[in-house]
C-alpha cells in the first residue's frame, strides 16, 4: 500500500492552547486508519488542519504527494479529500434526497453542468446510497426533523454521494443507537471495500475502532502517543494509562 495522506511535524495552537504539537502520521491508500485519544487530545484539530479548515503553525501536509497545507477548504475537498463533522452538518430545511443531490461531486462538474437538472442516474444513486445507510423510507422527510443518529447516517451518505478518494469521519458512531452500531461498522467497511474509499476515522468507541482499522494512532495532550496495529495499541500501557488518566 502507498501513503495517500502524509502529515509531517504539524503543530497548531489556539492562543495559548497547544492543540497539536509536532504531529507526524500517514494514512495508507485503500485502508482504514483510526485516530483515538481522550477528550480534548487534539483529534478534531488534526482533521481540521488536514482539510484546510484553519492554517497550521508549522509542518507539512501532503495529499497524493501534493502539498495541501496552504489550500482553502473547497480546493482540498475538490481533490477528493472529504470530511464529516463531529457535530453533524446537514441541510436541515431540506429532505434527504435534496441533501443527497446537493452533495453531487462538484469536482467532476464543469460550470455549465450546474445549470442542468439532476439526471435520472443522479436520483438513482441518491436513492441507492440512502438505502445503503438505511434511510430510504425516510428520504422525503425534512432532514432537520430526523433523530441525531439518523442525521449522522445522512451525512455519511452525503459524503459517499460526493465520491471522495479519502473520507475523514469524526466520531461516526457517536449518538447512534447501540443496537445499530454493528450495522454501521459493516457499512463503513463496505464503503471501504466496495466503493474503494480510503477511511480515516476518529472514534471514541474502542470496540468499534479495534474492529475496523488496520492501523491506529493515539493522541494525548496534543502529542502523538503511540501508533500500531489494533493488537499493539490494545496492549500498549501508555494508551491504557492515557485513557485511564482521562476518566
Amino acid at each position: 500500500m502507498s501513503t495517500i495522506i502524509d502529515v509531517q511535524g504539524v503543530s497548531k495552537s489556539y492562543g495559548g492552547v497547544l492543540a497539536n504539537t509536532d504531529i507526524s502520521m500517514q494514512v495508507e491508500k485503500g485502508g482504514i486508519t483510526g485516530l483515538i485519544g481522550p477528550n480534548g487530545s487534539g483529534k478534531t484539530t488534526l482533521f481540521n488542519s488536514i482539510v484546510g479548515y484553519h492554517p497550521i503553525d508549522e509542518g507539512s501536509i501532503r495529499f497524493e504527494g501534493k502539498e495541501i497545507s496552504k489550500l482553502p477548504v473547497q480546493s482540498i475537498a475538490r481533490l477528493g479529500l472529504l470530511r464529516t463533522f463531529q457535530q453533524t452538518r446537514i441541510y436541515g430545511a431540506m429532505n434527504g434526497v435534496e441533501n443527497m443531490l446537493i452533495s453531487m461531486p462538484h469536482r467532476k462538474m464543469r460550470f455549465m453542468d450546474s445549470f442542468g437538472k439532476n439526471s435520472k442516474a443522479d436520483y438513482e444513486r441518491a436513492d441507492m446510497l440512502l438505502d445503503f445507510v438505511g434511510l430510504y423510507e425516510k428520504r422525503f422527510l425534512k432532514s432537520g426533523s430526523l433523530s441525531f443518529g439518523q442525521q449522522k447516517l445522512l451525512e455519511f451518505a452525503m459524503a459517499l454521494m460526493n465520491e471522495p478518494t479519502v473520507l475523514l469521519l469524526d466520531e461516526p458512531t457517536a449518538g447512534i443507537n447501540p443496537t445499530l452500531i454493528n450495522g454501521l461498522i459493516d457499512r463503513l467497511k463496505r464503503a471501504n471495500t466496495e466503493f474503494g474509499i480510503t477511511l480515516f476515522i476518529i472514534e471514541h468507541n474502542m470496540r468499534v475502532i479495534m474492529n475496523m482499522a488496520d492501523k491506529i494512532y493515539c493522541l494525548a495532550h496534543g502529542k502523538m502517543l503511540a501508533s500500531g496495529t489494533p493488537g499493539e495499541i490494545q496492549g500498549d500501557q501508555r494508551v491504557v494509562d492515557a485513557y485511564l488518566g482521562a476518566h
Partner: protein
C-alpha cells in the same frame, strides 16, 4: 394543465391591465418595478442568505449607464450634461428608441460586471457586515456621481421625452417593465430548479458545509449576484427614460426609499420563495399608495410601523406563514415524533 391555464390567464391579465385601468398606468408600471427589484433582492437575500442593502446601487448605476449610452450615441455627453449649456440638443425618434434599447441592455450588462467586481470584495463579509458593506458601496457611489460634472453632478441628467403621445409613452414603459418582470419570473422558475439553485440554497443553509463538500461557493455567489444586478440594471435603465429627469441622491441611489422598500417587500411576502417577493411587492405597493393618499403627513410613520411589525412579528412573511401552516402544500414532510428512534 391547471397550472398552464393559470399562467395563460395571468399573462392575459398582465397584458390587459393597463387598458382596463388606464388611469393607473404609471402606478402599475411602478408596481412592476417593485416586483422586479424584490425578486432580484430575494435571489441573494432569500435564496443565498446574503442580505444586501446596496442593491439600489445597481438601480442607480443602471439609470446612469442607460442615459449615458443613449446620449453618447448621438451627442457629446459632457456638453449635453453641462448645466450652462444654451444650445438645444435634439434626438430623432430613431435615435431615441435605439438609444433607449441599447442603453437599457447596456445598463444590465454593465451592472452584472460591476457586481462581480464588488462581490469579489464584499463576499468576504458575512451577515450584517455584508449588509453594511454593500450599503456603503451604494452611498459612496451616490456621492461620487453627485460630484462628477461629466454626468451632470448634483443636478442629474435630463433625458429626452418619449416622442409621441403621452399615453402611448405610459404604455411603452408599462410593457418594458412588465416584460422584464415576466422574463425574470420565467428565468428564476427555471434557475431555482437547477443544480445551481440547489447549490445556492446550500450556501444559505450552511456555507461552511457547502465549502467542505467542495462547492465553488464564491463562483456561485458572484454568478447569482451578477444575474440579480443584470435585471436591476435593466429596470434602472427603464426608469431613467420613464422619469425623464433624475438626480443622483434622491432618485438614482435612493438608499432609503426603494433601497429599503425592496427588502420590506420580500420580508412581507416571504423570503426564499418564488412567489413571496411578488406577493410582498403587490401588498406593499397597495399599502404605500393608500397611506400616501389618505394619511398625508403620516405616511412615513405608517410605513415605518409596517416595517417594524413585519420585521418583529412576521419575519417569514406571508408565504413563510403559509408554509408553516400548510407544509404539505409545498411538499414538505416532517418526521412524526414516535420517539422510538435513536437516542442522541
Amino acid at each position: 394543465m391547471k397550472k398552464t391555464i393559470f399562467y395563460v390567464l395571468l399573462l392575459i391579465f398582465i397584458t390587459a391591465a393597463p387598458f382596463m385601468f388606464p388611469a393607473f398606468r404609471t402606478q402599475l408600471a411602478t408596481l412592476w418595478l417593485m416586483i422586479v427589484v424584490s425578486m432580484t433582492w430575494d435571489m441573494t437575500g432569500g435564496q443565498m442568505g446574503y442580505n444586501s442593502l446596496g442593491n439600489i446601487f445597481f438601480y442607480g448605476t443602471g439609470m446612469y449607464v442607460a442615459a449615458i449610452i443613449c446620449i453618447g450615441l448621438v451627442h457629446d455627453v459632457g456638453i449635453y450634461n453641462d448645466a450652462s449649456r444654451s444650445e438645444i440638443m435634439k434626438f430623432t425618434d430613431t435615435q431615441y428608441f435605439v438609444g433607449a434599447i441599447v442603453g437599457i441592455i447596456g445598463a444590465g450588462i454593465f451592472c452584472a460586471i460591476t457586481a462581480v467586481i464588488i462581490g469579489y470584495v464584499t463576499f468576504g463579509l458575512r451577515g450584517p457586515y455584508f449588509a453594511i458593506g454593500t450599503l456603503g458601496v451604494a452611498i459612496a457611489a451616490g456621492e461620487l456621481v453627485a460630484n462628477w460634472e461629466w454626468v451632470g453632478g448634483g443636478q442629474g441628467i435630463a433625458l429626452p421625452v418619449y416622442p409621441g403621445d403621452l399615453d402611448n409613452g405610459k404604455l411603452f414603459f408599462y410593457f418594458l417593465f412588465a416584460v422584464s418582470g415576466v422574463v425574470l419570473f420565467i428565468f428564476l422558475k427555471w434557475l431555482y430548479g437547477t443544480r445551481f439553485g440547489a447549490a445556492v440554497n446550500a450556501i444559505r443553509d450552511d456555507e461552511e458545509k457547502a465549502e467542505a463538500m467542495g462547492i465553488h461557493t464564491l463562483r456561485y455567489k458572484l454568478t447569482m449576484w451578477a444575474l440579480a444586478a443584470f435585471f436591476v440594471g435593466i429596470v434602472g435603465g427603464i426608469s431613467a427614460f420613464q422619469l425623464i429627469h433624475f438626480e443622483p441622491l434622491e432618485t438614482a441611489y435612493q438608499t432609503i426609499n426603494l433601497g429599503i422598500f425592496m427588502v420590506v417587500c420580500v420580508l412581507l411576502g416571504g423570503k426564499g420563495t418564488l412567489w413571496g417577493p411578488i406577493v410582498g411587492a403587490i401588498l406593499f405597493h397597495v399599502i404605500k399608495e393608500v397611506t400616501w393618499n389618505y394619511l398625508l403627513g403620516w405616511q412615513w410613520v405608517a410605513l415605518g410601523a409596517l416595517i417594524v411589525v413585519t420585521v418583529v412579528y412576521f419575519q417569514d412573511g406571508l408565504m413563510g406563514w403559509l408554509m408553516h401552516k400548510k407544509p404539505e402544500w409545498f411538499g414538505v414532510r416532517i418526521e412524526k415524533k414516535e420517539s422510538v428512534g435513536e437516542a442522541s
